[in-house]
């Protein structure tokens, strides 16, 4: 066969494929993106919680974006435990100071980072949380200490609107 030369027809083929690919992408993307969170789900993205009735050593669980959020008013002993741990001992090193803006209040997603179960309060080897599904132990700062979970329990975006109200999200 003779040496292949690029000609006008090759340009037309390439251009047609390119336009076709863009067209196919433009059709496929809406079909994929429709499965992402919709506007009504996103609209529920923040919640205000009144914490005035939560005494020291108590945890309340609120639903935010369909997920449980633990709001724990920690005792001095728990804060002391959380802050005295050496970072080298942690699987996912994070300072307690970075996890709790106000040391008395720990606000975090009550979702085990392994496969999404809800850990149990005041259980496990580190007096924090224990996930019954696959045995992950968390400390009083919600940091992973033992078990299959890869990271610490997540801290959502939150702020104190006033002394008794926390806005999550």
């Amino acid at each position: 066969m003779a040496e292949k030369k690029t000609n006008r027809r090759d340009f037309l083929f390439t251009a047609t494929y390119a336009v076709g690919a863009v067209g196919a992408g433009a059709v496929v993307w809406p079909m994929i993106d429709q499965m992402n969170p919709d506007a009504s789900v996103k609209a529920l993205a923040s919640t205000e919680v009144d914490v005035s009735s939560v005494g020291p050593g108590k945890t309340i669980t609120v639903l935010w974006r369909g997920k449980p959020v633990f709001i724990r008013r920690r005792t001095d002993k728990e804060i002391e435990e959380a802050r005295s741990v050496k970072l080298e001992d942690l699987k996912h090193p994070e300072k307690d100071e970075d996890r709790a803006q106000n040391p008395e209040w720990l606000v975090m997603l009550g979702v085990c980072t392994h496969l999404g179960c809800v850990p149990l309060d005041q259980k496990g080897d580190y007096n924090g949380w224990f996930c019954p599904c696959h045995g992950s132990h968390y400390d009083t700062s919600g940091r992973i200490r033992k078990g299959p979970a890869p990271t610490n329990m997540e801290i959502p975006k939150y702020e104190f609107v006033n002394a008794n109200t926390i806005k999550i999200g």
């Binding site: 994929i32 499965m35 992402n36 969170p37 919709d38 789900v41 669980t61 639903l63 974006r65 369909g66 997920k67 449980p68 009550g110 392994h114 496969l115 999404g116 179960c117 809800v118 996930c131 019954p132 599904c133 696959h134 045995g135 299959p148 979970a149 890869p150």
Partner: protein, 420 residues
Amino acid sequence: MSDHEYNPKSKFGKWFNDRLPLLTLANHLTDYPTPKNLNYWWTFGGILTFCLITQIVTGLVLAMHYIAHADMAFDSVEHIMRDVNYGWLIRYIHANGASMFFLAVYIHIFRSLFYGSYKAPREIIWIIGIIIYLLMMAAAFMGYVLPWGQMSFWGATVITNLFSAIPLVGEGIVTWLWGGYSVDNPTLTRFFTLHYLIPFLILGLVVLHIWALHVPGNNNPVGIDIKKPSKDTVPFHPYIVIKDGFALLMFMIVFAFFVFYTPNILGHADNYIEADPLVTPAHIVPEWYLLPFYAILRSVPDKLLGVIAMLSAIFILAALPWLDTSKIRSAVFRPLYRQFYWILVADVLILGYVGAMPAEGLYLLIARVATAYYFLHFLVILPVLGFKEKTLPLPISITEPVLGGSPNLAAAKNREGLKE
């Protein structure tokens, strides 16, 4: 497909068949030459077809009464159980039907493993079968979510979270699967849609599975190639139809026992509690048919590697025709493989057992050993065995071991040829 031409007797039949050769197809299926030594392990293909049809018909009826909404799904299932005429029966058939389907498919798969049915020239049949098996697991999982009980919700949460193990895009994929930030109504409605769709995909693949089967014809317990049609074969109808029908009746007795006497024994009591996103049940276990893979997932201490191990355990089956290097199909003539086969069966049963137990202490140790052995079997033992094993001599036909053959192979082969 058989080569012979089929000529319908009636004039209308001929007219129709010339335009759409359905009668040729029907004739092919009735006359289809089948090895005459097929044992009862070969009846599970027909039983599985029955299971698929049962699931589709009962599922269709349930969908007329079920409401796919997070606020109403649980109540609508109770409505089916209490108010709908025979709703309890239809739902129990559908729920236990899933278990019966898996029971039959596991027997079907292990029959292939014993008799080497996945080997050339039947690799495509085998791979289509593996795809059907994967789709069955997807359909079963999504179906289990629909009643919106505690096990539904938390099973869905745990399984969809497996995708979060993927680096970088994992979290995005999970949110996309959920259609939100947790398992919720959007998840339920899409699972319902897919649960409705998948059985029809399976039906299409079953047609391909049977089509691919009819090209080389059935493997058989002796595992040798046979001439078709010959005195080693019988027509599918009536011989195999009657045999499959009898096996199906026996199978339906087991099926009916579960439906009528212990309809909930294969389920979990927790699934009669409505889904609660704030409370995880103390002990989450999947349905029995997924337990071996669940054990493999939990035996690996790392999240991503655990997921990879679990998926590999399934996908490794697709590579089986090339991992097994032995030219001999049937384990009847492979004295060493036969022993390893039964060790594998025991290994999978052990994995299933520890998958139902808490992942700690001795159970975890056993799960790890059994997981390692599972991969050892497919990746080391099978490839090596094909070269090392001293296999037994194969008969030259199915009839020969029964009626006796000449010690002179050439003469015997010649005689076989003459009797065509």
